[in-house]
């Protein structure tokens, strides 16, 4: 089927800039298949349903709009992680730890791509392909999924990333630490967690002035995947993150992201619960300050097994004309009985110029489920603020306390208390920085 003219034009412009698919057999195949998917899906334009609140040209334009650099981020130093450093998307071996960890095998995509066979071929681009494929729904009808062309683009052209095969209970978190020299970065990480294994993946810092970081996580039966991202702070960054995960029976998935500012921050989380009794939590906190700030969380959780639980908890604090978007969906398939789905998105608007746009969606085909969703937008509670001040807490700090209290519910989605503390400290630091 031909693409609409507008989509065809942006897609052709992008395709003409893309390199030929190269590498060993497995990845060459994966890359050219992804290229074909991209060509048939077409890149999004503003008219696309899941882009109407945002501006896809931030990523369809060949060149980034701004340049922004950053120092190395060290927020997770306290939890003594194994650290891998990337500067503008290029692995910095000297600044990184040796890729050796008990219970996990860690490789770079650039290295795996040279081989003709690699374990990651069962994962790289696979979850993205599932998300982008038309597949028969229960009862045989074909269901057209939401197009994820940027994910196909990432699979097609990513040259670097971290490939982690987790075979045991890995106690030490793995940290991917980013730094920007003002360029562009495109990374594709893949994490395969074997049955009963567990891992914690941390991301921190600014990968580049414009970046697209994708993670595919395959969490097997009774496995655990924990993920905390402290998105690097830069007023002008164009940031895209894409998280694709599949969850097996009795598995646990928890992902949280803190984002501060950015002209275009788009975070997608596309999760599929395929094994019974699985649990998936995604949370996010956003501090947006300034009229050019635009932050979009888009979540799509598919329940395709019995007795699974999912939670989406998103909090955005917006001021000086910042825009926050939340597009969250829970899809419960016909056989996914006993599903427990929860979704809440809330914004704290600190002035009349800021805005929050929320699109919560439930699509339920099973008849024995409990799903709830809520979305609120409000100003700071003046009563609470006066109460704090009447007890002697200075106004600025009282506002910070109220703000921290507001985002705390999302931070609670992080299982590890030490990591919660790290995130809280970052929120406090960001707020204190604003107060000057």
């Amino acid at each position: 089927m031909a693409l609409p003219k507008e989509k065809q034009e942006v897609t052709d412009a992008m395709l003409s800039h893309l390199p030929e698919a190269t590498g060993g057999n497995w990845i060459k195949t994966a890359r050219s298949a992804a290229m074909d998917r991209l060509a048939s899906l077409g890149l999004p334009v503003k008219r696309d349903e899941y882009w109407k609140y945002g501006d896809p040209t931030h990523w369809t334009a060949v060149e980034p709009k701004f340049t922004t650099t950053s120092e190395a981020s060290q927020v997770f130093d306290g939890v003594e992680p194994l650290t891998l450093v990337f500067v503008d998307g290029v692995f910095d071996a000297d600044a990184s730890d040796a890729l050796a960890l008990d219970g996990a095998e860690i490789t770079l995509l650039s290295k795996a791509a040279q081989a003709d066979l690699h374990w990651s071929q069962s994962l790289y681009g696979v979850l993205e392909t599932r998300a982008n494929s038309v597949k028969p729904q229960d009862g045989g009808a074909l269901v057209r999924p939401v197009d994820r062309p940027f994910a196909a683009l990432n699979t097609a052209i990513a040259q670097e990333g971290v490939l982690i095969h987790v075979t045991g209970q890995v106690a030490r978190p793995i940290r991917i630490s980013y730094r920007s020299n003002g360029g562009q970065a495109l990374l594709h990480h893949a994490v395969k967690v074997d049955e009963g294994a567990s891992v914690t993946l941390l991301e921190e810092g600014l990968p580049a002035a414009r970046y697209d970081v994708m993670i595919e996580a395959d969490v097997a039966d009774e496995a655990e995947f924990h993920h905390v991202r402290m998105q690097g702070h830069a007023p002008q960054v164009q940031a895209m993150t894409q998280l694709y995960a599949r969850l097996g029976r009795e598995s646990t998935f928890k992902s949280f992201a803190l984002s501060v500012d950015g002209v275009a921050t788009r975070s997608d989380a596309i999760l599929e619960l395929t094994g019974d009794d699985a649990s998936a939590h995604v949370g996010g906190a956003v501090l947006g300050d300034g009229k050019d700030v635009h932050h979009d969380d888009t979540v799509f959780i598919t329940h395709d097994a019995v007795n699974c639980e999912s939670r989406q908890v998103f909090k955005k604090v917006l001021r000086n004309g910042a825009t926050g978007v939340f597009q969250g969906k829970i899809l419960v398939k016909e056989d996914a009985q006993k599903t427990d789905g929860y979704q809440i998105s809330q914004s704290l608007l600190l002035d009349d110029d800021s805005q929050f746009l929320a699109k919560p969606e439930l699509e339920i085909y099973a008849d024995d489920v409990a799903c709830s969703h809520g979305s609120t937008t409000g100003a700071m509670d003046e009563e609470g603020l006066f109460y704090l001040r009447a007890r002697g807490v200075p106004k600025g700090y009282a506002e910070d306390l109220m703000t921290i209290a507001f985002v705390a519910e999302a931070i609670d989605e992080i299982a590890d208390e030490a990591l919660q503390e790290v995130v809280l400290a970052q929120v406090e630091a960001a707020l204190a920085g604003r107060r000057g």
Binding site: G384, F386, A390, V393, M402, F406, E409
Partner: protein, 252 residues
Amino acid sequence: MLEIKNLHVELEEEDKKILNGLNLTVEAGKVHAIMGPNGSGKSTLSYVLSGRDGYEVTDGSAELLGEDILEMEPEERAAAGLFLAFQYPVEIPGVGNMTFLRTAVNSQRKARGEEELSAADFLKEVRAKAKSLKIDADMLKRPVNVGFSGGEKKRNEILQMAMLEPKMCILDETDSGLDVDAMKLVADGVNALRDEGRSFLVITHYQRLLDHIKPDVVHILYKGQIIKTGGPELALEVENNGYADLIAAEEA
């Protein structure tokens, strides 16, 4: 301690006069009670003194220990020694009661140029004071006032008062919503804080709170002015006869 002269206050949004030349002097170490019918201006007085938005002072002054407090921010008034026990303590989800208390104590100390209380010293003090108010560890951990019963909220107010050690305490209808036992507990907490260097302004509808917190002076507030001042017997008179006689005498 507290000296209010000719205080005139209007509601900002409604252009409505609430206080009309109120005069009141509370001496150090004394307990003054203010009684009055609904709408006489009792709560407005407590809010204006503590610095809440929405009120405009059109004339007069209010000084705490010789300092003009009307120009101060609410937090400055608190650091200067003013404390308002709220009629309706506010629930603040997400902020732990303990964190709130410690932040308040140390903010005030910092504002006064005093050394901040260490975590250990604070904990010791708060535990001892909480115990005497029958506030358990769970209440200290929970978010400020969230899910607290009416009695628990008022006890929590008194705990804050005990920790902050203010000089001038205003109790705004602290007895509202309390059963007899809870009122006794709260009154005991207040009485324990009575001290030569500390004054109280107890705002109430009913005489019964004044059975437990014995006032030195009782004032009757009506239409934004003090119309009568007397000893504790004045409160009993109100309890027996209502305000009608006093108001009739004033308006005659």
